[in-house]
Amino acid sequence: MKTKTRRILALICVLMLLAAGLYALVWAKINLPPTYDGSKVNMNEVVDPNVEDLNGADGAAAIIVQKNLDEAYAANDVASVVFDFRGYDTLGESFILLTAIAGSFVILAISHREAGKEEEKDEV
């Protein structure tokens, strides 16, 4: 009986959280102004085809490098993307490594200890 009531309580809590999250989502969608809506952007203003050479071999790449230098002032585009524009991604990757090492440490330590115990039993 106790476990059943606990489960029902937990279900109610989860449903309440879900409802609050959905309400927040709908509220944000209706009331908050959009941060970026591509409708009013004129691509010819961002990248002027008369000024910048789009037909050359390095056309688009040169524009990307120039825009990145203006934005982040890093010579390596990949580094600036990995550490600046997508910093959360790198953070998550490094924490994946941390978690993987912790998990393998636990598994290997347990298996090592169990192997030692089995050998002791065999010797006895």
């Binding site: 002032y73 010579a75 600036s80 524009f85 959360y88 790198t90 953070l91 490094s94 490594l97 030692g116």
Partner: protein
Amino acid sequence: MKYKKGITQQNVIVKCGADKFLPFALIFGLYIILFGTVSPGGGFQGGVIVASSALLLYLGYGYKTASKAISSEALRVGESVGATLYVILGLGGIFVGSVFCRNIFYNIGPVGDLISGGTITFMSYAVGFKVLCGVGFLLLLLMGILAPDTDNEKEAKE
């Protein structure tokens, strides 16, 4: 795991090879970490290369020497220090008034210079240090599993 007698003794050729290649592996990995923001490479890759030099030490001298030469406790602490440094450097953008991981103080050198990347460079160093410590710790762990149990028994008896 049981090994035949004498198989734990290290080969002279492998030992000499490890001696020769260990400094090169360390220098190459540290170079890749240092120049991660202005060249192909980066923190992750350089860290893994530096950590792989621990494997060379193991091949040349065995688990006992490798575990004595490399402090696993320091590696464990270093990984956390690297992760914390990355988060602190990322939070710098919020304190300036922009978003997380924003590149602050970037006008500090000509483009293509070593520290021209600003915060990105130091974040790359933090990630490199973290990966160096983490993968090094993992390799030490695997070495401990792979090492013959006779060493451990001898240590226990002593």
